[in-house]
């Protein structure tokens, strides 16, 4: 198990390195950060001075080397746009995205699993068809469509939620996060519902379920103790894999709902070609993808006795 984890971590480090390296070269060749910051109106001297101050007049390989050293020492440099330490800005924004993603993930799991289980247990009924129809709709509607509609209907017209923003104080943050989290959760919940339904249908037809029933177990115990537990395995993998999806979904949702997290930071930094900030965001996103995958692997191993990571 430990050996497998170590191997996965090593692979993860290589993938993160490859991702940030390719991004570094792309970001440093697509445009002129001095123009992005100072505007086309700035004189050539002003642009050169700007570049000199931030080290953009150094050769690319030298900047790359400095960047890697910075990553190794957790010194991600200073934002070109705001002159703030990149690490500090990310540490400021990250908890907000984690709060939003955490709420969205909770909604996804709660709604998705419950709906999937009920649909499977009522297979072929009107309830099953209706619920799966809704799931079909949920998968089909992207957040850039559902977000503005929810904002208009539930926040503006009905006045049930704040119209975007982040609020002041923890519970205010949670209140502001409900609608964007729900928006982010729809696609995931629908996906979980469909997968959970099919897994449950298959599981409930297994021999060990029939045996459990024959032994006289209470139907609730049969469903929860044997059916759900076994059907959960692919869901756990999916949860790990959905972590990066939540982060990328946050880019759109945070923009729609003016939620000042990593997603908006990514857009702002790309918009202003703030290379240190872009690199910081990419680095953290890449790390999150790897950590999500690793956690999913570990969770599957813990849930399924047949899976023993690293054993031959």
């Amino acid at each position: 198990m430990m050996r497998h984890i170590a191997k996965r971590v090593l692979v993860g480090v290589v993938i993160v390195f490859a991702a940030v390296s390719s991004m570094f070269f792309v970001a440093n060749t697509v445009g002129d950060p001095a123009i992005a910051s100072l505007g086309h109106n700035a004189s050539a001297e002003a642009r050169e001075a700007w570049k000199h101050e931030r080290g953009y007049d150094r050769p690319l390989h030298e900047r790359y080397g400095r960047f890697l050293v910075g990553v190794a020492t957790l010194d991600l440099g200073t934002s070109d746009r705001d002159r703030q330490p990149v690490f500090d800005v990310i540490m400021h924004r990250l908890p907000r995205t984690l709060l939003l993603s955490g709420m969205a993930l909770s909604f996804e799991i709660a709604f998705g699993l419950l709906v999937g289980i009920f649909a499977a247990l009522r297979r072929g009924t009107l309830l099953d068809t209706g619920v799966m129809g809704l799931a079909f709709l949920g998968i089909s509607v992207p957040s850039f469509v559902s977000g503005p509609i929810f904002l208009l209907v539930f926040a503006f017209r009905l006045g049930w939620f704040p119209v975007g923003g982040y609020g002041l104080g923890f519970w205010d943050h949670v209140q502001h996060g409900l609608l964007p989290a729900f928006t982010m959760a729809i696609i995931g919940a629908a996906t979980y519902a469909r997968i959970m339904r099919s897994e449950m249908i298959e599981t409930m037809q297994s021999d060990y379920i029939r045996t459990a029933r024959a032994k006289g177990l209470h139907p609730f115990q049969v469903v929860m103790g044997h059916g759900v537990r076994n059907a959960l395995l692919p869901i756990v993998t999916l949860i790990g894999l959905s972590f990066p999806l939540l982060v990328s979904g946050a880019i759109i949702t945070e923009q729609i709902f003016n939620w000042p997290g990593m997603g908006r930071l990514a857009l702002e930094s790309i918009d202003s070609l703030d290379i240190p900030m872009i690199m910081g965001v990419v680095l953290f996103a890449a790390i999150f993808v790897q950590v999500g995958n690793l956690l999913a692997d570990i969770a599957v191993a813990m849930l399924d006795p047949r899976v023993r990571l690293g054993s031959r």
């Binding site: 505007g39 086309h40 109106n41 934002s79 746009r81 705001d82 002159r83 703030q84 400021h92 068809t129 209706g130 799966m132 129809g133 809704l134 799931a135 079909f136 709709l137 089909s140 904002l151 208009l152 209907v153 926040a155 503006f156 017209r157 009905l158 006045g159 704040p162 119209v163 975007g164 923003g165 982040y166 002041l168 003016n258 000042p260 908006r264 930071l265 702002e268």
Partner: protein, 588 residues
Amino acid sequence: MRSTRRSEAWAGLVALVFLAASALALALFLPEEPTTPRWRGAGHEEPQRGGTFVFHHEDNVRGFDPHTSFDELSNMGIKLLFEGLIDYDRETLELVPRLAEALPTQSEDGKTFTFRLRRGVRFHDSPIFPGGRGREVTAEDVRWSLEHMLHPDTASPGITFFMLIEGLEAFRAGDASHVSGIRVRDRYTIEIRLTRPDQTFLNAMAMTFAYPVAREAYDEYGDEVRRNPVGTGAYVLESWEPGVEVIFRRNDDFFIEGQPYVDRMVFTLDLKRDAAVMRFRNGDLDHTHRQSIADYIALRNLPAWEPYRVEEPNTDLWGVVMNTQLAPFDDVHVRRAVAFAINRPHWRRARVNRLLLTGQPIPATLPGYDPDLPEQQRYDLTRAREEMRLAGHPDGLPEPVEVWLGTGDISRFYGELIQSDLAAIGIRVELKQVAFPVFLAETGKPRTAQMLFSGWSMDFPDASNFLDILFHSGSIRDTDSTNRAFYSNPEVDRILDAARIERDRATRVAMYRDASRIIAEDAPWAFVCSNLQMEVWQPYVRNYRPHAVWSNFYRDIWLDLPRERWDADEPRLRGVAAFARFFGGLGR
């Protein structure tokens, strides 16, 4: 397999039915937009202390250094953080003392202004001061601040307003360590001497460039002082998250006892117009100053908002600029023909009535504007054709004319309006749309741009800020001319020069009216409009009115808290009826 396909088909069908049912339910049962504010105040009549006021802008603020930051956003914060020696009265445009005890005295020759400072005014508490306690502001601080702003290394955009201070050239050339025209008389008295009399100079002293700043902040933070402002204003910077928000906290040591009233001000950044208006109408924002056309119509047509909104013209001027050095606009008759051919009422309708039409070079908000100006330009196609005949072009111009425009849909829209209007007098117009920096650079060069659509917003509320800059021959240069019509009339120059030194206010205004009449008649511009701006605030926000000079000036407001729901019992139209009412409102 067949069963699965059938199941998927049913699910798809259910999805479609649900979608249709949702749309129908929305159309039939969704409440219409709130027609009243969501919240109202508690009903206090006396100013209350406390609360948090939330305002917004659609861009990101760059900094709060009064010497170098000169844009709408920065000023919104600078006016909370800093105070000047003098300022403008909110209603009347008159100068009033702030950090000064009284308005400055002026010497007999009109060249020297003497300011006496209030005693006991302190800079904000800050770690830059010993013990963290803000120290008293003195005349020496005023001198240091002005010299810092005037120094070439600061590169302040405000330098042009202070060029008449005696000894400035030597100081900027490095030949003198101080500006000889700025003299500290005692701890609280400072004198500023000009090379020649100028009655507009006090306007410069009311601008943010002249605000006293703490030298220690510049020593400590260098260029980063814009993020670490230490002023004397009603509010202190508490936090600033770029792209998200700036939070200001009340300055408990503010020099006016009992003020300010609000505990905290939250400046929400990078909030687009549509989202801002939705948040405002939901009660999540306390003031809004820019709206999309749809939101503008909606807010304008809701009677419940009437007491909490004001629509006033900006002090700006927009028009069609004609290069008087280039044919065919070197002929005054062609210029007048254009001025009479611009269908201003049509422009206003096309911009949903958000324009205040004009036909003269002084905006309606400034002294010197003459509503009865006889030579005022107006839409008159018969006169336009007569002027074309006098110019020798009764059938129009043989060659097309090129009109320069900045980027953006609105610029192009105005260009198309010009095209359409001038076609009626036989002038074919070709649009040349370029990036704004290119537009500024090229149209500022002589003999380059034949015609352009351009505007000017005031730096300070005085007619000279329009007439001198846009129409004085001294504003013609080889590059960066602000007189982009390259208009030169010795009589106009003479009047404008005399007006700058005239000390009698009524006489000055009369002189500017004279100049305005001549300029309107010479028609270097076809004057078109000033923009109208609607500001709306929540019912519980008290003591707010748009400031005559400063945009979004919130320092003096108070909040009538606790706020309570207004719309709880409001009958609201639903569904189709609401849509019908919305579209009915478009025609109003």
